[in-house]
């Protein structure tokens, strides 16, 4: 049986003078966490804003919680909590003012949960926003998004600029928000540690294109770095899943996607000595992916 989708982006395109989003397909299943990873300017915020209905695609479709965006954004946003790194609250007002305002809009506002969040985030309702640190401001914004008990949480770089302690608090609360299986999270980050920690699925984006998207286990299991010795200087076999290659004299390092034992065997048969097969961290996988995508884009552009 198909798992219902919280978010379905189909072939979305958006053109700006100096940037374009090309044929983006993105699916987030209900009850899962999708981490969107990409360098600055890759298109992460544009995708999240399309999911929120704040930007309309030039072509393609965006469906969120069964609502077509941006046309049905009012109904969809009743069940979405959105936090963006560049989102600000009213500086002259207190956290209580914002809580009362959001509570007046959402019937689902949970006073007990809001009080718990205030306590666990060490925030005081009476605090004016202008007196909050960056970390406190992010936590206040997160509180406003979580206490309304949304079905879908969309976070745009929520942990950027936070110290490790606050980052952990924010990540922990994001995880707590997933108590119910029907809740889903889509979040963007260039911090691969955060993504690795909480995501079920990971999507890499570069230059306005999705370069890879699958579940975390497949990512972590599929990528390997193979360290080789090539004493006789034999030519390396051209395997299609080699994403990156570095050669220093007789020593060689290959970064490989969709790894299986057959790859190492093939290298041995080609007269190479396999010294080690290592797992990669998500950051290394991300960097390798970006490197590969960059090379492909340059090739396409004829550079």
């Amino acid at each position: 049986m198909d798992v219902p989708l919280a978010i379905a982006c189909r072939k979305i395109n958006k053109r700006y003078p100096h940037f374009s989003l090309s044929d983006v397909d993105l699916s987030v299943e209900e009850g899962t966490v999708m981490g969107l990873v990409g360098p600055n300017g890759a298109g992460k915020s544009t995708i999240l804003r399309m999911v929120m209905g704040l930007i309309g695609p030039d072509s393609g479709s965006v469906t969120v919680l069964g609502h077509r965006m941006p046309d049905e954004q009012m109904a969809a946003k009743r069940d979405i909590g959105f936090v963006a790194e560049d989102m600000r609250l009213y500086e002259s007002q207190s956290i209580a003012f914002h809580m009362d305002f959001v509570k007046s809009i959402f019937d689902s506002w949970d006073d007990t949960y809001a009080a718990n969040l205030l306590r666990s985030f060490d925030l005081k309702k009476e605090q004016k926003v202008k007196g909050l640190s960056h970390g406190q401001r992010v936590k206040a914004t997160l509180l406003l998004a979580l206490a309304r008990r949304p079905k879908l949480l969309v976070f745009d770089e929520p942990t950027t600029g936070l110290d490790p302690a606050v980052r952990k608090e924010v990540i922990d609360e994001m995880m707590n928000a997933l108590e119910s299986e029907s809740h889903s999270i889509l979040f963007s980050s260039h911090n691969t540690l955060d993504v690795e920690q909480i995501s079920d699925y990971i999507t890499f984006i570069y230059g306005g294109r999705i370069i890879e998207s699958c579940n975390k286990e497949d990512f972590m299991d599929g990528w390997r770095r193979i360290r080789l010795s090539n004493p006789d200087g034999k030519p390396l076999p051209m395997l299609k899943n080699i994403k990156e290659m570095q050669q220093h004299g007789r020593l060689c390092s290959l970064t490989v996607d969709q790894y299986d034992e057959g790859v190492a065997e093939h290298l041995r048969q080609s007269g190479l000595k396999v010294d080690a097969v290592e797992r990669l961290t998500l950051e290394e996988i991300f960097l390798s992916n970006v490197h590969h995508a960059k090379a492909n884009l340059s090739k396409e552009a004829g550079l």
Binding site: L54, P70, M74, A75, K77, R78, D86, L89, Q93, V102
Partner: protein, 229 residues
């Protein structure tokens, strides 16, 4: 669950601006008291100039400060992203901004219009023949405000809003000069009775239509807008 949150947005903007609105109300009240005290003690021409300044300045300044804080700075200070994360469409957002700004300025404008009418015609500062022109002047200020508000909602740009303030102010002054020298208006301006000839009716109707048209165009533009942030 599909109800609009415009009332909550209006309440929020009013709560954010209430102190500023109160200050301008008090300044206006002081202006009215000053006019009442000066009445009969200074020459009429001086009272007309000072009175216009005392009545119009607080209303215009309040209107401009309100649109700056509720429209322009909401974009500049990134609080708009917070508002747009709530169940609100661009059209509802624009409508709430129009309502709060036109509402507050409209109340000010109606109050100063009533006070201006009282002093001008109730206390005999102007002959009754000036009434159509005074209405044109007051409507001119209202149309200029709607124009500035439409520009600020169109782009939410500080520079463009400031430019529109300068252009609408100069444009309205120039327009009123032209109107004042039109024969069908000028010939009756010092008359004992207001004369509502076709020119006077046409000018007033055009002013009302421009104000309504600007509001309609702003709402239409916002409802067709695909990119909001």
């Amino acid at each position: 669950m599909s109800t609009s949150i415009i009332p909550q947005l209006l309440k929020k903007d009013f709560m954010l601006s209430r102190r500023m609105i109160l200050v301008f109300c008090l300044v206006s009240l002081l202006g009215v008291v000053a006019i009442a005290l000066l009445f009969g003690r200074v020459p009429d021409w001086a009272l007309i100039n000072v009175g216009f300044l005392l009545l119009m300045s607080p209303a215009a300044t309040c209107g401009i400060v309100l649109l700056m804080t509720t429209v322009v700075f909401e974009k500049e200070k990134s609080t708009q992203a917070f508002i747009m994360s709530l169940p609100v469409t661009p059209r509802h957002y624009a409508l709430s901004k129009l309502l709060i700004n036109v509402g507050v300025f409209g109340v000010f404008w109606l109050a100063i219009s009533a006070i201006a009418f009282y002093f001008a015609f109730g206390r005999g500062l102007f002959p009754s023949g000036t009434m159509p022109f005074v209405i044109m002047v007051l409507l001119g200020a209202f149309v200029a405000y709607i124009g500035i508000l439409s520009v600020s909602l169109w782009r939410q740009s500080l520079g463009l809003t400031v430019l529109s303030i300068a252009l609408f102010e100069m444009g309205t002054s120039a327009y009123l000069w032209v109107v004042a020298f039109l024969d069908p208006v000028a010939d009756f301006i010092y008359g004992p009775e207001p004369v509502w000839n076709s020119t006077a009716v046409g000018i007033v109707s055009a002013q009302v239509l421009v104000a309504v048209g600007l509001i309609a165009m702003t709402l239409l533009y916002q409802s067709r807008r695909r990119d909001f942030l």
